[in-house]
Symmetry: C2
Subunit: 208 residues, 2 copies
């Protein structure tokens, strides 16, 4: 399969969220217009996005909700499971350890690490917090696909470098810094600061 | 001031994060090249972004870190404070109530709401959880600028409608649905599912 743009993957995710909602409401088919509204795209864009991965729709009938959802799950790599390590057992790390959306997407959090002696050995959502010092040895014994970085900002790049050297190819970064990684490594970021500042900008400049 | 694109606001936030790091490291000036790298833009784009808000840089010297950071804080609306209500006192809501980045950006969480009788009246990070039923009356007595939505997916749109009717003009949505709001209301979203699926897509389609 050809490589597709990040913006396309994002729209596919939005389509899938919408299809899952339709499925919960018992809808069997959905129109490209409804998918378009959800993905922030035109109906023509929806048809183009989906035809890229094979044809799913029928003119006048629309898309089958379960068939399209299943195919999108395959395309998005959600039909397999991923081994995930979580770095940082502070407030953010502990909240993430309990996040049900990981498991629902095939992301199995198999270990959690911290460098704070007060946290090492404690239990977080059923996992015993391991020492960050054992990260490389653990990953050598059992590889991980993805690491979630929930460290303080100053520690994140160093941790990312260690993870990548140990073979981790996907990073989900919650630390408020932009990580630099080499080719072949994918970084997703959840940057709360950007979202908050988009809000404060809009409110500050709103017409009264 | 003219309205600027969301992508510009995003770059301004990234510049500010970088300037704050430079400040912590004791750097007095920074080049447009260094800012560009951080904002994912060209040096020419940086100069254009910043000239839009007035001239800050000096040829051959670069930008003053404290002056530019201060000006960006003003532009981003971070020089004032915002009253924030938090809807949902579950795991995500409780983690957010404790998030230090809110206060650092002038976002004061003044109240937290839930509809679960088992949560109402309990204390979350120093705030007593209020009943969702009192939302409108509370907002009438004391307006809020921003609401953070940390409800289950199915409840989010209804809550958003109530908040907007009660005069809230900024929403930060953590529920995994796309919210529809009218003009004059700004929504920022933290959609973990999109970030996770971008990772699973990349790993699933990676060359071995």
């Amino acid at each position: 399969m050809r490589d597709v743009a990040a913006s396309t993957v994002r729209r596919l995710s939005l389509y899938l969220q919408f299809l899952d909602e339709c499925g919960r409401q018992g809808l069997g088919t959905v129109s490209s217009g409804a998918l378009a509204e959800r993905g922030g795209a035109s109906p023509a864009q929806v048809r183009k996005d989906l035809s890229f991965f094979g044809s799913f729709g029928r003119r006048g009938v629309g898309y089958s909700v379960p068939l399209l959802a299943g195919r999108l799950r395959e395309i998005l790599g959600l039909a397999r499971r991923y081994r995930v390590v979580l770095i940082g057992a502070g407030r953010v790390g502990a909240a993430l350890a309990a996040y049900p959306g990981f498991r629902a997407r095939g992301f199995d959090v198999v270990a959690i690490y911290d460098v704070d002696p007060a946290r090492i050995g404690t239990s977080v959502d059923g996992l015993v917090v391991r020492s960050g010092a054992s990260l490389e040895a653990d990953l050598l014994a059992e590889a991980a696909d993805i690491a979630v970085i929930a460290t303080p900002a100053g520690a994140a790049q160093g941790v990312a470098d260690r993870l990548v050297r140990a073979g981790v190819r996907g990073l989900l970064n919650f630390a408020p810094v932009t990580l630099a990684v080499g080719p072949g490594v994918t970084v997703s970021e959840v940057n709360m600061a950007l979202e908050l500042e988009a809000l404060s900008y809009a409110l500050h400049h709103a017409q009264p």
